[in-house]
Symmetry: C2
Subunit: 506 residues, 2 copies
Amino acid sequence: MNQKENHKNQIFEALSDRLERAMAYQTALTLLEWDNETLAPVQAGALTSRVQGTLSAAYQEVMTSSEVKLLISQCEKQPDLSRVERDIVREAKEDVEKLDCIPPEEYRAFQELVSESTRIWVKAKKEQDFSAFAPTLQKIISYQKKFAGYRAKDGQKLYDVMLDDYEKDFNMEKLDAFFQCLKKELVPLLKQITESRVRVDDAFLTGDYPEEKQRKLAEYMASYVGFDFEKGVLATSAHPFTTNLHNRDVRITTHYQDRVDSSLFSVIHEAGHGIYEQGIADELTQTPVGQGASMGMHESQSRFFENIIGRNEAFWVPVYGTLKDLFPDQLRGVGREMFVRAINKVEPGLIRTEADELTYSLHVLVRYELEKQLIEEDLDVEKLPELWADKYEEYLGVRPDHVAEGVLQDIHWAQGSFGYFPSYALGSAFGAQIYACMKREMDFDKLLEDGKIDVIREYLREHIHQHGKLKTSRQLIRDMTGEDFNPQYYVDYLKEKYGKLYQLEG
Amino acid sequence: MNQKENHKNQIFEALSDRLERAMAYQTALTLLEWDNETLAPVQAGALTSRVQGTLSAAYQEVMTSSEVKLLISQCEKQPDLSRVERDIVREAKEDVEKLDCIPPEEYRAFQELVSESTRIWVKAKKEQDFSAFAPTLQKIISYQKKFAGYRAKDGQKLYDVMLDDYEKDFNMEKLDAFFQCLKKELVPLLKQITESRVRVDDAFLTGDYPEEKQRKLAEYMASYVGFDFEKGVLATSAHPFTTNLHNRDVRITTHYQDRVDSSLFSVIHEAGHGIYEQGIADELTQTPVGQGASMGMHESQSRFFENIIGRNEAFWVPVYGTLKDLFPDQLRGVGREMFVRAINKVEPGLIRTEADELTYSLHVLVRYELEKQLIEEDLDVEKLPELWADKYEEYLGVRPDHVAEGVLQDIHWAQGSFGYFPSYALGSAFGAQIYACMKREMDFDKLLEDGKIDVIREYLREHIHQHGKLKTSRQLIRDMTGEDFNPQYYVDYLKEKYGKLYQLEG
């Protein structure tokens, strides 16, 4: 090693050392949050929040220290960093810039507002009282717009700044085109389906499915699709989610309800997220590029496992017997084909998290349009409930009776997340494009029928998972499929699948 | 508020702020360790260890920073600090001194040795091969002696430095007298019991006790003795333990075995630890004085709940029916009296953690004598297995066949803990003295018979738990009982209880 290389390494090593400390705080915060959702006693809240606040401040302090900034700028001048090292420096710099441009006292006030606002939202939702939440929501929006203003570059629009946090390269211009395409194609498709004479029976999915057996099914299914229990755990929480300390400790949750397919598919969905995180390369984990590429790409994987794999008839060929063995009485007289039809039933509803595969993106469309208006057009928050209801009626043909099943159903805005929702729809579209590409490379259905999910998973790991944040979603898709992102694959996939199920005329 | 008070507060507040950060790191470390013992996937180890190492270093860095040292010395000069504030400053100063007098590179080397040594100990124990562990043990002892040397004040002996970490005011001189008293009284008592003609049948305690029902019993019992599940949780781990994030989040574990009384009493024992931590005053938690007074006082509470409450016949009057309802077949024909005799059976054995109430302290005696020799007399570690076996034979009348049930049974030395063991015996003796005092103040047995454990618990909370580390064990005992610590209460308690059970002549 010559002297110059030695010098370079020392600077990068010094930066890595500070980043490792910051990551340790993040890991601790992740565990505290996981624990809070799955186990912590009810009275722990206030004191544990203080601990979280302290760790959060410690993270911010390290990341915005003059030492880290100096090391980053020195690293940028090193000509001989490896590709991964350069990406770590780039990502760290972005993280620092995000934290650094917001005055600490404003950031703290915002954090306090947000921790308060979740409580207010819970109460308002319970009491179906939007006006109790509206002033808080207005404050959150004001803060987020102010923060986005600090961060906006070269006349960038505020909502574009927010969108960029969740999915790079997808600003309003691109998303308008994307959602326009979905609206144009899916709203009429849904209308055709609801007007079709085909009726799908899914009554048997609801019933006496004992929790203990559902738990067994959940463990079996997570493992079957490839979630590695040597590097992960499954627990129970009010709302299913995935989190991870690093690539050897990935955690998924589910909840057990009367509808057996609710936990079943939420487990496969979270396992998809988990498999992504378990597949990230060892050299990346616990660095700033050691997570999934974006929220959209993450959703692409969870929804790929849930829908493209899990709701595929071929998937059930080798495993439907296991399900029948677990629930012989509940599924008496229900054949595999009948089961697969039931789990693919299209039924426009009011609640996003319970939506079927086809209508899901229309729920997201409503939120995207409203977020845009809130951020870019100063929409009065008081008008949200009515606008929400109107859009549901227009796109899905259903209208909420009250705000708990309308505008107050999601926690995102109460947590200060604006720009997150589009990821859900983008993820579904990414997944469909990836699926189209994979079908050219392999006999997808045959692999499912033969229970060889490992081949599919390995392909996804090689082309997506292992790269962490080294590539953006767009780059991943381009490198994998040879094409730029194209939402038509998604529309075609839905049209073909549901056209067949509901015997629509092509 | 005058200017002077204002000034005082600012300095103390500044120190508190730094201490809060240090405590946040400790809380995160506690949660990581809890998680590791109860849930984390098997492959998480190496990466999570790095996170722990980083947080541990961050803790040390804050505590030994020149800023904290300066603030402590400034606080010491403030004339108007409250009692609690002065104690926080004193305790923080002690923590800083402990961390500060060991060169960081030696401390790190020792931490690495200890994390390695646990692995070596596990393997050596499994293979019943002491020689595989001996060199590591020798290194650990050398480090600990060196560290104690750095910390020794005014010609203090090395083992006294170590003992002081776990129980202030109890140096070798005091412990020699204590253990001498136990040896003189308990060894002959045990001989009388093993030679008595009374036979206690406890065969029914072992059998088909389904884990699910044992779990129900554990939850019921923890709650019955007063562990508050709004401020705590119960989980499963290989070895039962208690830990806490703060006084509103206290965690206990148990394990389920074929012997129903194993989990039953380990849960009551850990609940005793947990009730202590839940009882600590709100103003103390998350400060350096916010834990139990000492290891000995902690054991006094856990063993008080386990033995003085839990193995008391009066305790079972209101709850034996619940036990019978849970296990009607397993306990068929077993009356309450027979059950209480069984759970108090004396049977000298080789394993400390499985020892009955009477022989328990003799297990500790063996360890105390050997630790003293190792630290103060340079005992060759190679001689430990033989000496261990000789002492067991002399005091307990049993001799191990191999080192796994002999000198390798405990993890403490592998973890670098010397001076910890005496706490177990001291705790039992503290408990007996507290019990004697309480019996003068209240009709203890009547309260148990009436299921009024809350009265007993509240008394302990008022006199012990709430004070945290504001008083030493000796002070607590003196303030509570009006007397200095006196081991005779313990001996008398055991003599009376077991003399009656085994019909010994007084």
